[in-house]
């Protein structure tokens, strides 16, 4: 019997039991998610729940449906709570990023450079942290509730008792305090890395041009076409290649998974030549 660490109270036991108030089915159904949207309060919470329900596969979850469910939910409520909406957007963005990483498994050296064990440890630490302070928040809520009805006197003391009669001593403050404050105000935060946002400086048209130039040689390897290029350029080049395939200008083949992709020119008249083409010669490694 596996003990489920829980994001919320209640629920336990064998497969399929609900996790707290999050009523997920064996597969996370849209309806269940919609119900849960009332109560979710952070992506780590949801993530924790997703991981605990190990049968949920993010790859099989249509995120567009989640967005639609959320929009329906908003419509039913008839009001837009900005805070919740912001959290939802952050959540959906986090899920999108996670899902895109899953789909690119292995390709993304920079982002998935860490060992699975390290990644798991890191994710676990973050989830536990979030969970810890969520529990602490509940505790604070209880403390506050226990103080219900306790009020403090807010009336200011009579003015005649407040009048300052003792002047603070001259020279009691150091001027250095002011210089240090200016120094703090002159400091700027380190530049924020926006590398992962990848502003597309490369256009598909540019890469089409590049591929067509290479195609005039008859054939080339994809590796050769993107040598030294950044990830964005690789992605755009792939789009360009798909475009060439669609127009019938190029075809490709790959002998084995993760092997070289050989691209060759294809005459528009004879698309079947692609299937017959063997491993194209003259490929640079």
């Amino acid at each position: 019997m596996r003990r489920h660490g829980e994001a919320r109270s209640g629920g336990d036991g064998e497969a399929g039991a609900p996790v707290g108030s999050a009523r997920y089915g064996a597969r996370m159904s849209l309806a269940a998610l919609e119900l849960d949207l009332d109560v979710f309060s952070g992506p780590f919470d949801l993530l924790l729940t997703l991981v605990l329900r190990e049968e949920v596969d993010l790859l099989e979850l249509a995120l567009a449906d989640v967005v639609l469910a959320y929009l329906d939910h908003l419509e039913q409520r008839g009001e837009l709570d900005l805070e919740t909406a912001t959290e939802f957007i952050v959540l959906i963005a986090a899920l999108l990023e996670l899902k895109s990483r899953l789909m690119l498994s292995g390709e993304d050296e920079q982002l998935l450079d860490i060992e699975p064990e390290q990644a798991a440890a890191e994710l676990l630490a973050r989830m536990l942290d979030a969970r810890r302070y969520r529990a602490a928040a509940t505790h604070l809520g209880e403390l506050l509730a226990a103080e219900h009805g306790v009020r403090f006197r807010e009336a200011p003391p009579p003015l005649e008792l407040r009048r300052t009669i003792i002047a603070p001593a001259d020279g009691s403050h150091s001027p250095e305090l002011l210089g240090a404050a200016i120094g703090r105000l002159l400091s700027t935060p380190p530049a924020i890395s926006v590398l992962h946002i990848a502003v597309p400086r490369i256009s598909v048209a540019e890469r089409l041009e590049h591929l067509r130039t290479l195609l005039r040689r008859g054939s080339f390897s994809f590796e050769e076409a993107v040598r030294g290029a950044d990830r964005m350029t690789v992605a755009v080049t792939l789009f360009a290649l798909l475009e060439l395939y669609k127009t019938g200008e190029a075809g490709w083949e790959q002998q084995e998974s993760f092997g070289e992709i050989a691209v060759r020119a294809r005459s528009r008249e004879a698309p079947s030549s692609l299937a017959l083409a063997g491993r194209a010669g003259g490929l640079a490694g």
């Binding site: 003990r3 489920h4 991981v51 959540l91 699975p116 810890r132 604070l140 009805g149 006197r153 400091s187």
Partner: protein
């Protein structure tokens, strides 16, 4: 019902607690009354007896590093009718989480709070600042404003000091549950890699 005369120092301490809105420490009371701290402590003990819960409409509480007078919760209904404003006593989950993170990890910057919560804490931080539950406490080395909790926070949450907050580890899952979680995360990672 008898009400004998309080000793002079106890009366002074009572008057000071009545006038000051915020908790007063024994040292502050001693300085104002021009007596030793021991005498103040004795006067407070006497007052604590007078103001024991359930005896009067006012209670003596030790809160936020000092002593203060507060109304008896039993009078809340009448107080609300009189002052026609509810005691602001609820926090949204986002505010409570942000407050918990500040209370435990202070001083802490907004980006750090965001990293722990996994969602932005901007609006919650703003509300907590406005309600006087947290305040600025300088800047981090990267220029981000740091936050800490206030005496007002201790006062409203019935805490004598931050030490009264329980250890956060208390809410951690058991080592077995953590091991189990780690294993599942690993398995998820392996599935992804395959």
């Amino acid at each position: 019902m008898s009400a004998e005369q309080l000793p002079s120092l106890a009366r002074t301490v009572e008057a000071l607690l009545f006038l000051a809105g915020d908790p007063l420490s024994v040292a502050e009371l001693a300085e104002a009354a021009e007596v030793g701290e021991g005498a103040v402590a004795a006067a407070l003990a006497l007052l604590a007896e007078q103001y024991a819960p359930g005896r009067r409409g006012i209670q003596l509480r030790e809160l936020g590093g000092g002593w203060t007078l507060a109304s008896d919760p039993a009078s809340e209904r009448a107080a609300r009718r009189l002052l026609s404003r509810p005691r602001a006593s609820t926090l949204t989950p986002a505010q409570a989480e942000t407050l918990a993170i500040v209370a435990y990890l202070q001083p802490i910057s907004r980006p750090e709070i965001t990293r722990i919560r996994g969602v932005s804490a901007d609006s919650a931080t703003g509300t907590l600042l406005e309600r006087g539950l947290i305040e600025e406490a300088g800047s981090s080395q990267f220029g981000a404003v740091l936050y800490r909790s206030t005496t007002q926070f201790l006062k409203l949450f019935g805490l004598r000091s931050l030490e009264e907050l329980p250890d956060v580890a208390r809410w951690d899952p058991s080592p077995e549950e953590q091991a189990d979680l780690r294993e599942r995360l690993l398995r998820a990672g392996e599935q992804r890699a395959s």
